[in-house]
Amino acid sequence: MSALTTTAVGSYPKPDYLARARSQFSQGKLDRGELEKLERQATQYWIRSQERLGLDVLVHGEMERGDMVAYFAGEPGGQTIEGMKLGGLVRSYGNRYYHKPVISGKLRWPGPMTVGMWRYAQGLTDRPVKGMLTGPYTMVEWSFDDHYPSRRDAVLDMAQVIRREVEALVKAGARYVQIDEPAIHTRPRQDFDLAVEAMARVVEGIDCEFHTHICYGEVELIYPDMLRLPVKQIHLAFKNTNFEYLKLLEEHPFDSDKNLGVGVVDVHTHVLELVAEVKDGIRKTLELVPPERVWILPDCGLKTRTVEEAEGKLRVMMEATREVKRELELD
């Protein structure tokens, strides 16, 4: 890959027809085949959209997933890891509730969970599509555990499950697999070594380029420790804190063997960034990390935006990247 490679983090907004279909499916009013047809239709939309916008490495958009953990734990229409199920409703804030997954037995890989959709999405385009998984630490941290004697036991068994899925994706032809760990800084002092060990068990010896996404939270608590994660790329939500993470990189240089994924648009606001401010963020980053090691992406999955907002943000990201490349005469 060349300088300032562009990609996205994972999820895109679901079109209205799919949101309706998912709700009908969970009420038993639509069969699985019909739902899958609409998921694929929406996936095709996002593949074409990313091609039009000019992204280099694509994501399939997660049209088939509701929540990144619950999808693997009994969510309607999801793919369930053996030993997981959906639990009762728990409040996350305000009037928002979710069905928190439960680890209720020994965790086992149930066979390919994400390969079918990956293969479909990759079949639509010549550009590489990333395999998308949730990391073992986050899977366990965001679930109840009725089974394992310790978090460590649960996380390491979960790592074996995720590893099997990675192997299946790689066998199907995936060149990039992204393993998201947004919960990795929940208990950095007690648990960071465990998260690193678990990631190693997922990826070790597998010939594939691994990325991980770590968003929000107290990134300063796990930098530079996070450089021990055995992945090729780490992406962080830079825009959300107006590039304050760059101070961390000034104090301790970013690992010279790794690529840095730089989130340049905030996914939690309706406000569309200006091309100039995105360019400014990219140029500041380039003072610390060379362009061939910088990837450009949104801060996080865009699923909470409308379709128009999501595409608007990607368009600004692409335009800013192109202008910086032109101005700096990169590739």
Binding site: G88, R91, S92, Y97, K100, R187
Partner: protein
Amino acid sequence: MKATAVGSYPKIPNRPRPARLRQAIARLDRGEISREELAHVQDEVTIEAINEQAEAGLDLVTDGQVRWDDDQTYIAQRLDGFEIGGLVRYFDTNTYYRQPIVKRPVRWTSPILLRDYEFAAAHSPKPVKALLTGPYTLAALSTDNHYGDRRRLVLDLAEALRQEALALAAAGAPFIQLNEPAIVHTKEDAPLLQEALAKMLDGVKSETALYTWFGDAAGILPALADTPVGLIGLDFVWGPANWDELRHASFSKGLGFGIVDARNTRMETADEIAEQVRRVCEVVPAERLHVNPSCGLEYLPRETAFEKLKTLAEGVRRAGAVAV
């Protein structure tokens, strides 16, 4: 020995029972019902929460904090000087609260919890303890854009919350619990907490407790015990080092023994609880013991919370039967 809760009770049950409060708030947001209609639903759900705690066998209940979004904003919004900001994570949970922002000097203007307490007490078959977020934790979990000095903010909050504690005591609240979970995460501030609580509880006649959770009080239990409260609540699930701390401190207060995991669905057995209670009775006499979950129950589905309280109450009964 009393079986009690620490604070919140899950606001909505699971299917097939209706999620009335969730629906009512959604309808209020859509402009379909009035604030008064929502308040009516909140009252009814409060009665449900109280009755479930009593039915589970608790001796001392809370109002379930049904009207509270979280421990911070319910108080901060009703004091003068705060505005409410963006979502932030509550300690190491996957639960979020809107962060209070201190914009001006903080002041108490009128009672915040009085009506809630009186309503709960009037509808409860068991004594109700009033819950109040402590001045240290309220300051620690807020953003300060005014004082620029943690101590001054904490002490002003202590004065503001003192008015609230006095109002609750005057209304006959027999037991007021101050929630100070932040202190076990920033132990070096224990002297500030002591100063604040001395100020806050001056002249408050009710029985009082100081509760912590999500960590241990190793190294600061003597400091916590050197405050004018009658009972210290510690989390022995997420802070197992509390065992050693308790054994080594000379501890003469009441203990809130947080022994049922309120953050995981795995069920304890009544015998396990009874065993732990007997163990802690070697250090703290049974008559000074409140046995409770490790923290508020809102991290659990409603049905699991209820089952855990039942098990807890049964464990306390079994331990008591042996002790006698």
